[in-house]
Structures are given as structure tokens and as C-alpha cells.
């Protein structure tokens, strides 16, 4: 039975309203006790490992509700092992992996394969099953079996469920197995050939735009359906001010809706596309300043429950190509916290807001264990050095793919240790 004490760190655990200096005692993979550091006179016993966290930040291990691990099928971009290592390096101890693999995770054998491959990896992998068979938007998947095999939610992420009648059935049916539907809210007709946010920057660059309405209309539809059915809906990667307002109003009416935003949509605007950087191309696209402000306000007032990276690894052949032909998406696991800590330093968000949205937020939205450091919970913990700076370089990243808009940039805040179930799974000096 492993025993561990993390001593002297600044512990921020929003689920318990904790922000102070505490020693965390771990036994049998779970949090055994938390003691105020200054009042803690207990002797460290024989065989207890000590992690000196003085000067460091100690938080619940992060849970990412939206990653693409690409296995099975696209192992040249990422696999479950490299994706898990990237997650651990970013302070995550749990990730929810999307179903758009090849084959699609639309049946229990794929779910079981993913979980088999995730055994022994440094983070917990929670598969998300598809809503429809082959993500084709035609027939529901066998959601009961997906749940039994280990899926925690269903989503056709990457493509919207176009048929509203089918979406209604999906909400009703998945709800009986205690899984929310994660909506990729996008009206493809309004998107057309768009490759970035519609607005002045797109006009200047001569790129076709994607209007906010492409997201707003689908969020409005899906909220209506969640309201109609009384079932749980989770809105993936919210990017528009309109969607934030719709979700806020729905929550006020008691609709069971939760939502996530990505670090890049919280940090960057469509100006990042200038120069035709394909690492600033994603779906939904980077939006205008007003949208970024609305997302931050939504995070502050609880409209946005989680920060999820939408970690989307792509190889060079998909990114070092013409802008409008380049694949959508960026990697995010290893930069997420540092990018968000940059927003904390700017005063745009507080540390508590960031940590809550990366730990307790997703744990509550998807009813997952963890996301907090109370006694008896799994000892999933991340430790950061907030003073340390690092430059995002391809060679430093654990992910197989290097498609990050922060390549070459200096960020502040390094994950020095990640602990899963009381075991140190990532360590960096």
C-alpha cells in the first residue's frame, strides 16, 4: 500500500473552497487527510514518500472532457499511449476521448479496445461513444452496451446530428443509461466552405467565413430538445457570445445543460489567423474579441462548466498545406493550463475559476469520480510551478503531433508532477 505526503504546497481545490497551504496525506491511492501546513506537527513515518511542494501549486488532477486520442485508426496522429502521456504532462489525470476514430467508437468492441489500450497509462481514459452508427446521423448506437462497456457520454463530435427528430431520440434514450449527449453544435449549411470566423479578418485575408449563427442556431435547437425531453445535454467547444447567452438563459430555466469552452477560444481571437497560420485553424473557429469576452464572463458566472482542450492532433501532411485545405484543430493537453494561467496573470480569470473548470466542473458535468481533493477521493493531483517559464518546442511535446498555435511561444507555469491514484505518473524538473 503506497503512502505519500505532499507537503507545504498552496492547495487550490474549488470544490471545497480551499486556497491555502496544506499537507495532503495519501494512502491506498486515496486522499487520507488534509492538514493545514502551519499546524501540522505529525511526523512522517517510515516508508512514506514525501513530495516537497513548497513554493508550488497543488490542485486536483485535471479532467479533460474533450480529447481526440486518434486510436484506433489514426495512429500516425496520436495514439492512446502518447495522448495519455501528453495529458499527464499537462496535469490531467482523466480524459474523455471522442468517438471519431476509425472504426468509429459506436459499439462495445471498440470501447473495450480503447479501455484495453488505456490500461497502465498515466491517465484514466473515459471513452465517449457515438450517438449514431458510424456517425452517419441515421441510426442510434447501442447505447446501453456502450455504457456497460465503459462509455460515459455519447457524441458524434466532429459532425452534428442533423436530424432534430433523431437528436430528440438520442437525448431520451441515452438519458436512461445516465449518459448526456455532447452536441457538436454546427449548422453545416451555414458553414458552407467557411474556413475561419466570418468577419473583417476573413474579409481581409480573402477566406470564407463561418458566421456565429452556424453555432447559435444549433445550440438553440438542442437546448429546445433538452427542454422538451428533460434530458442532459452538454454543449462542446462553445465559441460564440450568442451560444453563451442561450446556455445561460436555459440554465436559468432549469434546463439540464452543461457546457465547455477551450483554452484557445478563451485566449485567442480570429486575429491569430493573420499570416495564414494553419495552427490557428479549428472548428469552431477562433472568434471575435466580443465572443472571447463573453466566454470568459460565462466561465466566471458558471454558464460554462468546464474548460476542455478539444486536443486534436494532426500530422504535417494535414497542416503544412493550403489554409482552406488544412485540417481543423490543434493539440492542447500540454499547453492548456499554462495558457490559462497567462489569462490569470492578465487578470482575465482567477486561478480558482480555472482550476474549478478543469477539475470539479467536468467531474460534475459527467458524474466522474475525482475533480476534488476531499478525504476518500482518488489521489489524482497535479503540481505546478507557477514561476517557471517554458518555450513550447516540438521536441518537448509528448504528443505525436505538434500542431499548436503556441509553438515557439514562452508560457508560464510548468506541471512538475502529476499523481494518479497516489502514484507519480509524470515528473519534470
Amino acid at each position: 500500500m503506497n503512502r505519500l505526503v505532499i507537503k507545504g504546497g498552496r492547495v487550490v481545490d474549488p470544490a471545497q473552497n480551499l486556497d491555502g497551504f496544506y499537507n495532503i496525506y495519501v494512502m491506498g491511492g486515496r486522499v487520507a487527510s488534509i492538514k493545514k501546513a502551519e499546524a501540522d506537527t505529525s511526523e512522517v513515518g517510515e516508508g512514506v514518500d514525501v513530495v516537497d511542494a513548497s513554493g508550488l501549486l497543488v490542485v486536483p488532477g485535471f479532467i479533460d472532457a474533450h480529447v481526440h486520442l486518434r486510436e484506433p485508426g489514426y495512429e500516425y496522429k496520436e495514439d492512446i499511449e502518447t495522448g495519455s502521456k501528453a495529458a499527464a504532462a499537462g496535469g490531467f489525470t482523466g480524459v474523455m476521448c471522442m468517438a471519431n476514430t476509425r472504426p468509429v467508437n459506436d459499439n462495445e468492441s471498440v470501447t473495450k479496445f480503447i479501455l484495453k489500450r488505456a490500461e497502465g497509462q498515466p491517465v484514466k481514459v473515459y471513452p465517449v461513444g457515438a450517438v449514431t452508427q458510424g456517425q452517419k446521423g441515421e441510426k442510434l448506437t447501442e447505447m446501453g452496451e456502450l455504457r456497460a462497456a465503459g462509455c460515459v457520454a455519447v457524441s458524434d463530435d466532429g459532425v452534428p446530428v442533423v436530424d432534430p427528430g433523431l437528436m430528440r431520440r438520442a437525448l431520451e434514450y441515452s438519458n436512461s443509461f445516465n449518459m448526456p449527449v455532447i452536441t457538436h453544435a454546427e449548422d453545416k449549411c451555414l458553414v458552407g466552405q467557411g474556413s475561419m470566423n466570418e468577419g473583417f479578418v476573413a474579409t481581409r485575408l480573402g477566406l470564407k467565413g463561418i458566421p456565429n449563427a452556424a453555432e447559435d442556431t444549433m445550440v438553440a435547437r438542442d437546448i429546445s430538445l433538452a427542454e422538451l425531453t428533460g434530458c442532459r445535454l452538454h454543449v462542446a467547444h462553445v465559441s460564440t457570445r450568442g451560444a453563451v447567452e442561450l446556455i445561460r438563459a436555459a440554465k436559468a430555466r432549469g434546463v439540464k445543460v452543461t457546457a465547455e469552452a477551450t483554452p484557445h477560444h478563451l485566449a485567442l481571437t480570429d486575429e491569430a489567423v493573420a499570416g495564414y497560420s494553419t495552427n490557428a485553424k479549428m472548428n469552431p473557429p477562433l472568434r471575435a474579441r466580443e465572443d472571447v469576452e463573453a466566454l470568459r464572463a460565462g466561465l466566471k458566472d458558471g454558464t460554462i462548466d468546464c474548460i476542455a482542450t478539444d486536443h486534436a492532433p494532426h500530422a504535417s501532411i494535414e497542416k503544412d498545406v493550403e489554409f482552406d485545405k488544412a485540417a481543423n484543430g490543434i493539440i492542447g493537453l500540454e499547453t492548456a493550463f499554462s495558457v490559462l494561467y497567462g489569462l490569470v496573470e492578465e487578470g482575465a480569470l482567477t486561478l480558482t475559476e480555472v482550476v474549478r473548470a478543469m477539475s470539479n466542473g467536468p467531474a460534475r458535468a459527467f458524474k466522474l469520480e475525482g475533480g476534488r481533493l476531499s478525504v476518500g477521493t482518488p489521489a489524482d493531483i497535479a503540481i505546478f510551478d507557477l514561476e517557471k517559464k517554458w518555450i513550447v518546442e516540438p521536441g518537448k511535446l509528448k504528443s505525436k503531433s505538434k500542431n499548436s498555435p503556441w509553438l515557439g511561444k514562452e508560457l508560464k507555469g510548468v506541471c512538475v508532477k502529476t499523481i494518479k491514484g497516489g502514484a507519480i505518473v509524470h515528473s519534470r524538473g
Partner: protein, 311 residues
């Protein structure tokens, strides 16, 4: 004199002084094309690759002739597919071409920004011969040269650009160019083809063609792509022609000495009536002639003048 830049990617980033330098250099090169032996040795030993990912007759030929009249060796590469379809990254394409040691790559591509990406990958000069809906700098320069020849100056002129503004690289480059040179530019077209924020480029925007033409010194008509009809940008060619096409009647709103430009190829009877296209105001063929001179100037100012200064 020379351009203190490696590449010519757009008009947006050029200063008025740079525009004036290119225009005056082009004017001085016009005479070469009138000689019996249409060739100067200035760029002997230089290699220019014309890399065209989009079909083009006029622009490619114009760049080729310009290079040859300057004694550079011009090689044409036509590629019908994007790098994605070929399964090769743009970076790889660029590095392979560069390994053959060209001095300049002229690139035309249907995707906006491709010349900019290429320019970042190679050490030689890159000239944008039209990228998607973004810029077409040599076209704008030849338009400016054509207008300047006829009007004497670009200062204070009223320019109307009519048609599919959203998808037009010619419109964007000309808005930058003419406004930098002191003209005022109004763009007009169906609202479906007027993208958000166009006015922030420094032009006036209207969906009323007659309003744009009213009092204009120059009317520039843009080619309408027939496939836009199936994308519902306008209902029918017939209706487009009636409300947004240029005919004698609409043209009466312009100044007496108005001139008509069109980047070509023209759709007769669609965006421009034949009587206007062939009429006395039309400088469409002068544009083509000036295209060669402008491209000679571009090559000279990017590849040639530097050497002379060193010598």
C-alpha cells in the same frame, strides 16, 4: 532603386513610395515591348518558375513574356491539384523547387494565403500571381498604370469596382492600391457578395451599382463566376446582368471621360455589355499590354536592381 523586400505578396503591405517606384519602372519598360528586338539583358542567368495551380492563360503568359523580355529563363509548371490531393505538403513542394535554385517563384493558387506560406518556406523571391479571394498585386499595378497613363494622376479620382467583391482578389488589391495613391474607391455588388467589414479596407460599400458609378472616373467590372448562381449568390444570370451588369444606360451616370477596366476574361452580356466592352471608354486591351510592363518591373525590382547597385 529596388524594392527592399524579398517577395511581392500583396498591395496591402506596400507603401505609396513602393507603388510609385513600381509604376514608374513599369512605364519605362513599356518601350522595350515596342522595339524590334524585344529583349534587354538585365536578368540574364536568372531563373523564374511560374507555378500555376489554377488555369490561367493571360496572367501566366504575361509573366512568361515579361521574364523573357528581361532575358530571364522562365519555366512553367501547371499543377491541377492542391498539395493535399497530391499527398505532398506545401513545404515539401517548396523545398523541392528551391533545390533547383530558382531566383523567383511566381505562384497562382485557388487557396488564399498559399504564396505567403511558400514565401516562408523558400529563400528565393515569391511573386503572388493571384491567391484565392485575397490579392492579385500585379493586376492592381497594371490597372493603376493604365489609369495613370490616361488620367495623368491617381490623386482625387473616383473609382467604382462592381461585381463579386467577396470572391475577388482583384478588388482587394485595387482597393489597397488606389486608396494608397489618393483615389477614393466605392465597391458595389449584390449584398450576398459584399463581405462583412469591407469598408474597413478603406472603401465605400453599396449594393446600388448606379450610386457607385455616379460621377466615377473609372469603372472596373469584375468577372462573375457562373457557378456562384448555383450557390445562390444571385438567382439567375439574367437578373444579375440587369441589376449589376454594366451597359450604356448605367454608364451615363459616370463622368464624361470615364474609363472602363476589366481584369478579364469578360463574360459578354453578363457583367458587361458588348457595346461597353468594345466601346470608346474601354481600356481592356491597354491593361493587357501594361501587364507585361508591370511584371517586367516587378522582376527587375526584386531580382535585378540589387545586383546593379552592388556592382
Amino acid at each position: 532603386m529596388r524594392l527592399k523586400r524579398k517577395d511581392l505578396l500583396g498591395i496591402e503591405e506596400l507603401s505609396r513610395e513602393e507603388l510609385e517606384l513600381i509604376l514608374s519602372t513599369a512605364a519605362s519598360f513599356k518601350e522595350v515591348s515596342e522595339r524590334e528586338i524585344k529583349k534587354v539583358p538585365t536578368l540574364r542567368g536568372k531563373t523564374v518558375i511560374n507555378l500555376f495551380y489554377e488555369p490561367s492563360t493571360r496572367t501566366r503568359t504575361s509573366f512568361e513574356i515579361a521574364a523573357k523580355r528581361m532575358s530571364a529563363d522562365a519555366v512553367n509548371i501547371s499543377v491541377s491539384t492542391s498539395s493535399v490531393v497530391k499527398g505532398e505538403t506545401l513545404r515539401d513542394t517548396a523545398r523541392n523547387l528551391e533545390a533547383m535554385r530558382p531566383d523567383c517563384i511566381v505562384v497562382r493558387h485557388a487557396s488564399s494565403g498559399t504564396p505567403h506560406m511558400l514565401a516562408g518556406y523558400v529563400g528565393c523571391s515569391v511573386v503572388n500571381a493571384g491567391d484565392g479571394s485575397h490579392e492579385h498585386p500585379s493586376q492592381a499595378l497594371l490597372d493603376m498604370l493604365t489609369v495613370k497613363e490616361r488620367k495623368g494622376t491617381l490623386e482625387g479620382l473616383k473609382i467604382a469596382i462592381i461585381g463579386d467583391i467577396a470572391h475577388s482578389r482583384v478588388a482587394r488589391s485595387n482597393i489597397y492600391g488606389f486608396t494608397k495613391m489618393g483615389s477614393s474607391v466605392t465597391v458595389a455588388g449584390p449584398p450576398t457578395m459584399l463581405p462583412i467589414g469591407m469598408e474597413k479596407l478603406g472603401c465605400k460599400v453599396t449594393s446600388n451599382v448606379e450610386e457607385a458609378i455616379s460621377g466615377a472616373d473609372v469603372v472596373m467590372m469584375l468577372r462573375i463566376q457562373m457557378e456562384r448562381q448555383s450557390e445562390s449568390f444571385f438567382p439567375t444570370v439574367r437578373e444579375y446582368s440587369r441589376f449589376y451588369g454594366l451597359d450604356e444606360r448605367k454608364l451615363r451616370k459616370a463622368k464624361e471621360d470615364v474609363i472602363i477596366l476589366h481584369p478579364g476574361p469578360i463574360n459578354r452580356g453578363v457583367e458587361i455589355s458588348s457595346e461597353v466592352a468594345d466601346g470608346r471608354y474601354s481600356l481592356i486591351l491597354d491593361q493587357v499590354t501594361n501587364g507585361v510592363a508591370v511584371r517586367m518591373a516587378i522582376f527587375y525590382l526584386l531580382l535585378g536592381a540589387a545586383k546593379e547597385e552592388q556592382a
